[in-house]
């Protein structure tokens, strides 16, 4: 709106914004600072600065005692598999729903997209029993399958909306050049959909990294857990040693924060798409 302000108005606005920024950041700064305290130092003064940053035993304990590196590797591996699976099925389906002509297209698209409203908790009990019968509960395949399946409707919704924008002539041209279906999909549709695919990928990766419910239900043994579940369960058992727990939470927070710092613009766009469309 009006961009020229009285200096006092400007200062007042900045003060309000700054106060909110303190509220937004304090818990995160608190977490980072107290990771460098001993349990005793924390109990004597939970709000002050740590005496120094040379005390790194909490970090060592994370690596040695809680095997945080394996937790990271677990989480990354499950997410990678779920991404491959959900993208492998979402991309062709989105292409067909956006660009191919066939009976019941509208109905199929509606059915797929309407699935977005099914809450994970509604199907959780039966899907647990089903996967238990398949013998894959407590194997990461259960988490991969459920994550991927729950992501497909939303991914198809976004990708097919974006693919509708691909001009029909581009596809016709490819066809006259002798490109088969698979070629058209891989060489034309996929490259043109990369920005949308990136948005969807960021969204999926952060959702899964942050997910508690599904890995908590399906993965029972400690060595198969994801970082987020471990932070809320295994490390929570050590809640008497608050700095140790805070260190674990810090580990779990670093990847999403890094992702955000690196891909801020993309993340903002992705979030806003739903709101303005």
């Amino acid at each position: 709106m009006q961009r020229a302000h009285h200096p006092l108005v400007q200062l007042a606005i900045q003060l309000v914004l700054a106060a909110l920024a303190v509220v937004a950041l304090y818990p995160i700064v608190f977490m980072a600072l107290n990771a460098f305290k001993t349990s005793l130092a924390y109990m004597t003064n939970p709000v002050g600065l740590p005496p120094g940053f040379s005390y790194v035993e909490n970090f060592q304990a994370m690596v040695v005692r809680f095997d945080v590196l394996r937790l990271f590797a677990n989480t990354a591996w499950y997410i990678l598999l779920a991404l491959l699976l959900s993208h492998a099925v979402s991309v062709p389906a989105s292409f067909a729903l956006a660009k191919l002509d066939f009976p019941f297209r509208g109905a199929l698209r509606t059915a797929m997209i309407a699935t977005m409203i099914v809450p994970a908790i509604t199907m959780l009990v039966p899907v647990y029993v089903m996967l238990a019968n398949w013998g894959i509960v407590n194997s990461y395949w259960s988490v991969v399958l459920v994550w991927a399946a729950l992501a497909v409707p939303g991914n198809v919704f976004l990708l097919s909306s974006l693919m509708r924008g691909i001009p029909r002539e581009v596809l016709e041209a490819a066809r006259t050049d002798g490109a088969g279906y698979l070629e058209a999909l891989l060489r034309i549709v996929l490259p043109l959909s990369l920005p949308g695919l990136l948005t969807v990928t960021i969204f999926n990766v952060t959702t899964w990294w942050n997910d508690l419910l599904i890995p908590l239900v399906f993965l029972q043994s400690d060595e198969t857990k994801t970082v987020t579940v471990a932070a809320a369960t295994i490390m929570g058992r050590f809640s008497l040693d608050t700095p140790l727990l805070l260190t674990g939470l810090l580990f779990a927070s670093v990847p999403p924060i890094l992702l955000y710092v690196l891909l801020q613009g993309q993340i903002r766009k992705g979030l806003v798409i739903g709101a303005v469309k």
């Binding site: 709106m1 961009r3 400007q10 606005i13 900045q14 914004l17 909110l20 920024a21 937004a24 950041l25 818990p27 995160i28 608190f30 109990m43 939970p46 709000v47 979402s90 062709p92 067909a96 191919l100 002509d101 066939f102 199929l108 699935t115 409203i117 099914v118 809450p119 908790i121 509604t122 199907m123 959780l124 009990v125 039966p126 899907v127 647990y128 029993v129 399958l145 991927a148 399946a149 729950l150 409707p153 002798g178 088969g180 279906y181 999909l185 942050n210 997910d211 987020t228 579940v229 932070a231 809320a232 929570g236 805070l246 999403p256 993340i267 979030l271 806003v272 739903g274 709101a275 303005v276």
Partner: protein, 318 residues
Amino acid sequence: MATGGAIGRGPAAGGSVSPPAARAAPRLTLRQRESLAALASLLPAFLLVGVVVWWPTAQAFARSVTDWNGMTARLVGLANYRAILGSNEFWTALRTNVVFALAIPGILVVCLVVAVLLFEQVPGWRFFRSVYYVPTILSAAVVGMLMRILFATNGPVNNLLGRVGLASLQLPWLSTVPTAFVVLLFVFYWQTLGQGVLIFLAALSAVPQDLIEAATLEGAGWWQRLVGVIIPQLVPAIAYFVVFNLVWAFVGLFAIVYTVTGGGPGYGTTSVDLYIYRKAFEQGQLGYASALSVVLFLIVLVISAAQVRLFDRYTTTD
């Protein structure tokens, strides 16, 4: 791959490469081939969603009228539903979700105000915009654990209150139901600010500039422009924000309630999804849990139906 050449060459998509053109292509019209290609493209996605989402959802309905332990199910009619509606625990759990739903207008106003302030583009606004979003990207579970530490009886919040002379506000935050809700709603607000601000900033920058200029020419002041011109333009974004968070208030609370209060004290802050989790995975009452999840699904369905109506209205009057 080199021959044939239509986009709609069905069998090729399936991956069995033998001699597809020779077997499948010759007698089919272009339209049929396109339909085959579509079928092959859709099958994997619909198979995955059908087996892992639709079938279990149907099962939840079917099992909700049984006494089910995972192996054997005994038909009990509507007994589960009667038990749910007659139990205090369910209504207490639903109360938790309703408390969150009722807290949405508050965070809506906060987000709108902050977005409008940011939109004035005072120096540093980009920095603030980035900072507000940081809590949003963190896991609700991690944030929940963090807040449990912050609001512990001997924790930093009470410590700070003591230092600034507000010792009377040093409460056992997580040990009584009203204060536990204060903490839970604080977590909700803390994590939602960034999302709301981004949505409303995007909507603000989409407001046509000439509308604002026209109002200025007619002598409208800053406040009149905001209320008379800009806010009405934000209605679709506001509707999106409210509906998104309304659905979340009914199906998204698990992680924060589980970590901040564990649903306690007692059942005091248990949400319906946490209640389902406890019934199913801690007490093994799968039929009862299925009936609960059907009830929750119906609630979400009603909200979603209202949402479709709402959005239809905005897109048609456009």
